[in-house]
């Protein structure tokens, strides 16, 4: 799997936000992987949303990597919902989750998010799923091995 890092780490919000959130992106086989690092709560979600939206402007299939997210509240869920909607609107691009902990999965499940925003154990699995969901043209030009 080729991985091109175009990533940028953003620092926490300037105005004294004490919970830092970082948003990083990489490209993997034509899929945009957006990795969050920190809690997605009412203090951090607006900034994370703003950063992630800027990254999604490219319109590729998307994996949201939650491996380093210990906590998501309804504010984080709202961000996921808005990103999902944004990805569909700009390019009909599929979006999947990866790396969520058992606690996160429990919250996502209880709120019905998993039915519409599928979650995969690893980023690699998420990338393959996003490519398959993106349709035959993408898959043919970017062959992947099914796990």
């Amino acid at each position: 799997v080729s991985e091109t890092t175009e990533g940028v780490w953003w620092s926490p919000g300037a105005r004294g936000a004490e919970t830092p959130i970082a948003v990083r992106f990489t490209e993997r086989d034509g899929v945009t992987v957006v990795a969050f690092d920190g809690a997605l709560d009412a203090g951090t979600a607006p900034l994370a949303h703003q950063r992630a939206t800027a990254i999604l402007a490219q319109g590729r299939p998307v994996v949201l990597d939650l491996t380093r997210v210990p906590y998501v509240s309804s504010a984080g869920l709202r961000m996921l919902l808005l990103l999902h909607r944004h990805a569909r609107r700009i390019a009909g691009a599929p979006m999947v989750l990866a790396g969520a902990s058992a606690e996160l999965l429990s919250v996502l499940e209880a709120t019905g998010f998993l039915r519409f925003l599928p979650a995969f154990r690893t980023v690699g699995e998420g990338v393959r799923a996003a490519l398959l969901a993106a349709g035959p043209a993408t898959v043919l030009s970017q062959p992947v091995v099914r796990g």
Partner: protein, 157 residues
């Protein structure tokens, strides 16, 4: 015997951070397992956010929230007191659109649903111009309905 933790925070979204520290401290003191510690943090955040967004609202930048909490022999409790107009968070209906595809949902509305599923008991009172909402987690998991245990939590308050 430890003293009750007390913290007064401005009614703004960034106050979730000091509250997360408070609940983490209580969870550590009670040696709560990770999912229960998560649940406590989540319930308290969602209640605070609700007070900020729907209690005081954007027109009251000077709103304050008093947060108290303690660990006792059998439970952890946290109480939020605010002086916004009367609002019983515990009576909020289930969000209607949990079954809806994400593209058709209204953003928000999930917070109080998460409160209810996270804690064992929530109680509410409005006395002397103050909304007081208390959440309780029992240290040993219990299988009871909320109604059966309301009385127990209220004598805390």
């Amino acid at each position: 015997v430890t003293a009750v933790l007390q913290l007064e925070v401005p009614a703004v979204l960034n106050s979730v951070t000091p509250l997360a520290a408070l609940t983490a401290g209580l969870a550590a003191e009670a040696a709560l397992p990770k999912p229960r510690a998560y649940a406590l943090r989540l319930a308290v955040e969602e209640l605070l956010v609700n007070i900020v967004e729907h209690g005081y609202g954007p027109d009251d930048p000077d709103g304050k929230v008093l947060v108290e909490g303690d660990v006792t022999e059998d439970r952890i409790w946290v109480r939020l007191t605010d002086w916004a107009p009367e609002f019983d968070h515990t009576r909020f209906a289930e969000p209607a659109d949990l079954e809806q595809p994400l593209s058709r949902r209204e953003p928000g509305g999930l917070g109080l649903h998460l409160v209810r599923r996270s804690v064992d008991v929530t109680t509410y009172s409005y006395v002397g111009g103050a909304n007081r909402t208390t959440v309780v987690l029992f240290r040993e998991p219990v299988r009871v309905t909320i109604g059966e245990h309301r009385g127990q939590a209220e004598h805390q308050g």
